[in-house]
């Protein structure tokens, strides 16, 4: 079929490597800086707690980026999966904590259960007494839930705005549920006073897990199946008419994303030592969407940068004389990003770099259209219209 064979040298398509050296170097530096912090700043510092939190949040933002940036599913209820993971771990830690450190009522069951008239740990919570089982459940339940949700919505061709609204409702329901069933969840106050894992070693652990998550996400998005996901994002109709069961691909990536969100939630609950219904609600879900948008969706480093930037700014502003106004600044930043840098900070920089290397897409297209018009101008029919001459 080919007219002439192309030599191997000409056949190069510039592909980013699975792990570019620059990413490795920068990543290693960031990881080293974060890990070195406890040594420099001491293990008790507030900044240390913040960094651990931000690492969890950046995994969470990554989970949003996988579905939104790479597959085009906007979920406004991603905190559901974060929250379930977090609550599972928090409850498990709380149950174990109260056995060793009895509450001020002298009991060995969590205080909020006592307030609500429970006398012993309910049967369905007993598995949580074992930490490995709790960890497994914290990751498995959200993934399973995401699967069920995916089957219900994506199989019925519900996506886009409708999907966003349904996920939003999902987050509202869970938040209300947690407040309502306070005997089991601690209600509005959430789960508190169960210790935490705030040590230098655990920070290391967080750094390693974050790195693994980003590496795993890069494996996924830069593989052949990642290209299929992007093709679903770009044009789901074409993908469907190309034989892809689009719903199944959406369900798949939704489950992966829920798994990451659950992992982020579990780590967060363990690290911070407090969890409340707000961490499962729509507000928190939308925040994660904002981090991703600011950093740059459809890039992997974007969610990481967005999280640290937005949460870092929030920390700095809320502590300064601007304390009363910082939320206005955050709102303004988001509007600015959406209006001026639709691809976020990383995306805009990348676009600028690529445009410098080969001209902007719009320019290329204009040039191509002009060339085509020129050719049309030069073109002379080789045969009279209507003749039967075979042009080949």
């Amino acid at each position: 079929m080919a007219t002439q064979a192309r030599s191997a040298g000409e056949r190069k398509v510039r592909r980013s490597r699975l792990l570019p050296r620059s990413v490795l170097v920068v990543g290693a530096l960031v990881a080293a800086a974060i890990s070195a912090f406890p040594v420099v700043g001491g293990t008790d510092s507030y900044v240390l707690q913040l960094i651990g939190k931000f690492l969890c949040f950046s995994i969470f933002a990554l989970s949003v980026d996988l579905i939104w940036g790479f597959t085009g599913i906007l979920s406004l209820g991603q905190a559901v999966y974060f929250g379930i993971g977090a609550y599972t771990i928090a409850l498990s830690m709380k149950l174990n904590y109260t056995i060793e450190n009895s509450t001020r009522y002298g009991g060995t069951i969590p205080d909020f259960m006592v307030w609500n008239g429970l006398t012993e740990v309910p049967g369905f919570m007993e598995p949580l007494l074992s930490t490995p089982i709790a960890i497994a459940l914290a990751l498995a339940i959200p993934t399973l839930l995401a699967f069920i949700f995916g089957v219900i919505t994506f199989k019925r061709h519900i996506y886009g705005v409708y999907c966003a609204v349904i996920t939003l409702a999902e987050a509202l329901i869970l938040e209300q549920f947690l407040i309502e069933y306070q005997a089991y969840t601690g209600g509005f106050n959430g789960v508190t006073d169960y210790g935490n894992t705030r040590t230098a070693q655990f920070l290391w652990f967080l750094v390693v897990l974050t790195a693994l998550c980003f590496f795993g996400a890069r494996l996924l998005t830069h593989s052949r199946i990642g290209t299929v996901l992007k093709s679903v994002r770009d044009n789901d109709v074409r993908a469907e008419f190309m034989g892809y069961n689009v719903a199944n691909y959406r369900i798949f990536v939704f489950c992966v994303s829920a798994f990451l969100a659950a992992l982020a939630g579990a780590l967060y609950a363990a690290w911070v030592g407090i969890i409340s219904p707000g961490d499962t609600g729509p507000r928190f879900s939308i925040e994660a969407v904002i981090w991703t948008a600011v950093g740059g969706r459809a890039t992997l480093i974007g969610p990481f940068i967005g999280t640290f930037l937005v949460r870092g700014l929030e920390f700095l502003l809320s502590g300064s004389w601007l304390a009363n106004y910082w939320q206005f600044f955050m709102g303004a930043l988001f509007i600015l990003v959406v209006l001026v840098m639709r691809d976020g900070i990383v995306g805009t920089l990348l676009n600028w770099y690529r445009a410098r290397r080969r001209g902007a897409p719009a320019e290329i297209r204009e040039e191509q259209d002009r060339l085509e018009k020129d050719r049309q101008h030069d073109w002379r029919p080789s045969s009279e219209p209507g003749s039967r001459n075979d042009p080949v």
Binding site: R6, V13, R224, V228, E240, Y249, Q376
Partner: protein, 246 residues
């Protein structure tokens, strides 16, 4: 035996009959051109064959299998690839990746997950890109292509999927004369090894390509035969070709 057979196909949308008990067949290794005025049901027929819509009644048999009412992805896997009227590709993906995701392969998520682009895949992609003369643009995102190039890219994607039947819905719309000529040549070369069903308005192109023509009118087959036969047909001239042609 016919590769594609449409039997008694009827579609009604809110009381309006678009296809009316249509019988139609395409043989293997045929290049069939579908003609008809606007609203004759050409695109509807293609949408029904590819599973975008479901017929009110009637059967569609492809390659000995009844594919009536199946989902688009299943029908694709049975061997029917469709080119849309408007260029339809993955805009942010590179030209190379557009062809790559269209390659024939297992489509199930977990089978696909471990797939890599092998040497043979790579060779095939370049072969196809050279065939449509887009190899020079392989690394660029598809949205930098001009309108004509997009049409050719979509043709490339169809070939990559190794279909048994290609449905091309007006592949030359909006093209320059030169572009139309190139498209006609591509289709002619594709038709040497594939069965093609082509919807085309441009009589110049139809003359070059068509061996056998089917004319649709108000959801029914009005005439079928060689282009000359069809053009000489009085009814066809009355409803479609008008005074300017023939």
């Amino acid at each position: 035996m016919a590769l594609l057979e449409v039997k008694g196909l009827t579609t009604r949308v809110s009381g309006f009959t678009i296809l009316d008990n249509l019988d139609f067949a395409v043989d293997e290794h045929e290049l069939r051109v579908l003609l008809g005025p606007n609203g004759a049901g050409k695109t509807t027929l293609i949408s029904l064959i590819t599973g975008q819509y479901k017929p009110t009644s009637g059967r569609i048999v492809f390659d000995g299998r009844d594919i009536t009412g199946r989902a688009p992805d299943e029908i694709f896997l049975a061997g029917i690839s469709r080119k849309f009227q408007v260029p339809n590709m993955y805009e942010t993906l590179s030209v190379y990746d557009n062809v790559m995701v269209s390659l024939q392969s297992a489509r199930r998520v977990f089978r696909y997950m471990l797939k890599r682009v092998t040497r043979e895949d790579d060779d095939r992609i370049w072969e196809i890109l050279e065939f449509v003369e887009l190899a020079d643009r392989a690394g660029e995102p598809a949205d930098t292509l001009s309108h004509g190039e997009r049409q050719w890219l979509e043709l490339a994607m169809l070939i990559a999927s190794r279909p048994k039947l290609l449905l091309l819905d007006e592949p030359t719309t909006g093209m320059t004369e030169q572009g139309k000529q190139k498209t006609a040549q591509l289709i002619q070369r594709i038709a040497r090894s594939h069965t093609v069903l082509l919807v085309e308005h441009d009589m110049h192109i139809v003359r070059q390509l068509a061996k056998k023509v089917t004319v649709l009118h108000q959801g029914q087959v009005l005439a079928e035969g060689s282009l000359d036969e069809v053009v000489d047909n009085e009814t066809v001239r009355a409803v479609y070709l008008g005074k300017g042609h023939a």
